[in-house]
């Protein structure tokens, strides 16, 4: 660290807005793709588990297993296979979302009150109608809570993708570069921006949850 240089170098920040924006967008991409993919996979698994409760435990075990694979190792193993493509970064990040998303989606479906399901059945909803018009909408709050949690987690994890190369660096790139340059502004900003992004995602999903569940009472929603 050079003498006299402030911990946070505002000049650098203000003179590199494009760089910062590019990295932020990259980070968002690194987070959003795994989230979407992970969500689709988890939803399918959850629907399957609801029809076939037996698979719940094995799926939890498997997704739990994937969750514990150290990310450094996952990236390193996948790189020779998938090369420098985005897939190498996306696959491990996706697998990390599965445990959280699957559990929450299932919990969401389970939170549908049995009397509501029975009423739907008694009114002559077909299985499909019941799924799409009753179960899925009512599973939304817990599902979004899961997506929110997964988003925050992946935003943190995505910083590790920078080991794959600058192209997948996202905000992790600032951390890597900042350390190589012994430039606190950079690595602090990398960390701070990823936390800020997490906060934004948090707020976004909390808002989204409110917006798509106008029926929920404030109490049912709880905190966090």
């Amino acid at each position: 660290m050079q003498e006299g240089r402030p911990l946070i170098d505002w000049v650098w920040i203000s003179s590199n807005p494009d760089d910062i924006l590019e990295r932020v967008l990259q980070h968002i991409q690194l987070t959003a793709l795994p989230l979407v993919l992970g969500f689709l996979i988890s939803l399918a698994l959850a629907i399957w588990a609801l029809r076939q409760p037996r698979i719940y435990t094995p799926v939890i075990a498997l997704t739990g297993l994937l969750y514990t694979v150290p990310s450094l190792a996952a990236f390193a193993v996948l790189r020779p296979i998938f090369g420098l493509s985005l897939l190498t970064a996306i696959i491990p990040l996706t697998t990390y979302t599965l445990l959280i998303l699957f559990r929450n989606i299932v919990a969401g479906f389970q939170s549908v009150p049995p009397d509501v399901l029975e009423a739907a059945e008694a009114m002559g909803y077909t299985r499909r109608q019941r799924l799409w018009r009753v179960q899925i909408p009512l599973a939304v709050p817990l599902t979004i809570a899961g997506v929110r949690l997964a988003a925050v987690t992946v935003i943190g994890l995505a910083t590790v993708a920078s080991i794959l190369g600058d192209a997948f660096g996202g905000l992790g790139q600032f951390i890597t570069e900042g350390l190589q340059q012994l430039f606190p502004t950079k690595y602090l900003m990398g960390a701070a921006l990823s936390v800020a992004l997490a906060y934004l995602a948090h707020v976004l999903f909390v808002r989204l949850e409110k917006a798509v569940t106008p029926w929920a009472t404030a109490r049912a929603r709880g905190i966090g």
């Binding site: 059945e121 008694a122 009114m123 002559g124 909803y125 109608q129 106008p214």
Partner: protein, 411 residues
């Protein structure tokens, strides 16, 4: 012979207006229906949740299934819309075996109301009510019209409630929405499982009355589950008393159940004040009234005194010019005067409406100074006097030959 009242507690009701197959209603018949639950993980199966149930509900009638907890009421109900399939036996709807019909289409033609209401929390009241019409593919505007209509029918202002969510309603309001939703596609049959069980007694009473008033016009065939015998008597054209083990201890009109309990179990179940409960099935208009000595304001006293002399009663009932009763005057107060004046009248008797139930009438009489109820017609003119004795006599006659009294139309 006295014309019986199916359910007199709701004075506005005229049961007989509903003709057997009039309106949109269907017969429901249980034909030796049995349901055994399979043993599920750890739990024992129930040997017979319902055992050989045979029961025929005429179209347009309310049949109440009543009994202690766990006796198979809900199970019986759910077999009608095939939420549960019977182990054996058939359920016939208008003579057609329910099991032969497409289950989705069958259910859309059967309204279903449950204690927990089961409203869709994510849909507005309007959307909830229009659920079955939507399933049936009605267009938007027709659905919304229907929803408004039904909300008005169950006493909810559509302007105020249409856009609310169930969580924004009180328990009583939710129950009404539940009823409206079940009625949406004008189903010939309604199944109601303790629909008013979760609301407080005051609200429950109101909902019961409102529902009976509705049913007057709707004339659906209704299976109604409750474990409250008073509710059963009040709501039912027919009552099936279930006992543990899923059998019917007695099936009949409320009057039959109250006057001739078929077993000790039924006797205990209907309770120790059975005699009084039975009085609530009849109305003042069902009793032959007594005549008492009367005189109009302005009449000379002498003939009135003469009437009194030939009567065991010591009071004269004073009427106004339109024959409306003003009150009683003791014989002795008449001795010194010439003309009947209004100030002689002591209004210490209850005035009874002809549609008051005998139970309420008796209650009012017991509290009165002069235990003779003045019964007036629509214009307030005296029709006669009801005494405790008359009620007692009536009750005695009824209990001697209750079946002869029972005029419920059979199909």
């Amino acid at each position: 012979m006295v014309a019986p009242v199916g359910r007199a507690a709701n004075p506005g009701r005229t049961l007989n207006r509903v003709t057997s197959h009039g309106g949109n209603a269907a017969t429901v018949e249980f034909d030796h229906v049995t349901k055994h639950y399979d043993a599920v993980e750890g739990k024992n199966g129930t040997p017979g949740a319902v055992n050989g149930l045979s029961l025929k509900v005429p179209a347009g009638k309310i049949c109440v299934l009543v009994g202690p907890s766990g006796c198979g009421k809900t199970t019986s109900l759910k077999m009608v819309n095939r939420l549960i399939e019977p182990t054996s036996g058939r359920i016939l709807l208008d003579g057609v075996d329910a099991s032969s019909r497409d289950v989705i289409e069958l259910r859309r033609g059967i309204g279903y109301v449950i204690q927990q209401v089961g409203l869709f929390p994510h849909q507005t009241i309007e959307e909830n009510v229009a659920t079955v019409p939507r399933l049936l593919g009605w267009d938007q505007s027709r659905r919304m019209t229907r929803a408004s209509e039904l909300m008005a029918l169950v006493g909810l202002d559509p302007g105020k409630y249409a856009r609310r969510y169930p969580s924004q309603l009180s328990g009583g309001e939710r129950q009404r929405v539940g009823v409206a939703r079940a009625l949406a596609a004008d189903p010939p049959i309604m199944l109601m499982d303790e629909p008013f069980g979760a609301v407080d007694p005051i609200v429950r009473e109101r909902l019961q009355n409102e529902f009976l008033r509705l049913q007057e016009d709707l004339a659906k065939t209704i299976l109604f589950v409750t474990h409250d015998i008073d509710e059963a008597i009040k709501m039912g054209d027919l009552v099936a008393v279930f006992q543990l083990g899923g059998t019917v201890a007695q099936f009949g009109t409320p009057a039959e159940i109250l006057s001739q309990p078929a077993s000790d179990f039924v006797t205990r179940f209907v309770g120790s004040d059975r005699g009084l409960k039975r009085l609530s099935l009849f109305r003042v208009s069902d009793v032959a009234l007594e005549t008492v000595p009367t005189a109009r304001v302005g009449d000379p006293v002498a003939p009135a005194l003469a009437k009194l002399a030939s009567h065991p009663f010591e009071y004269l009932l004073i009427l106004d010019h339109e024959n409306r009763p003003l009150g009683w005057a003791h014989r002795e107060r008449l001795l010194l005067i010439e003309k009947i004046t209004p100030d002689l009248a002591n209004p210490s008797s209850p005035v009874l409406d002809r549609r008051t139930t005998l139970k309420d009438a008796l209650s009012q009489l017991l509290e009165a100074d002069v235990q003779a109820g003045l019964v007036a017609d629509r214009n307030g003119a005296l029709r006669g006097v009801l005494t405790v004795d008359r009620i007692a006599d009536f009750a005695r006659l009824q209990s001697i030959s209750p079946l002869a009294q029972d005029g419920l139309d059979e199909d």
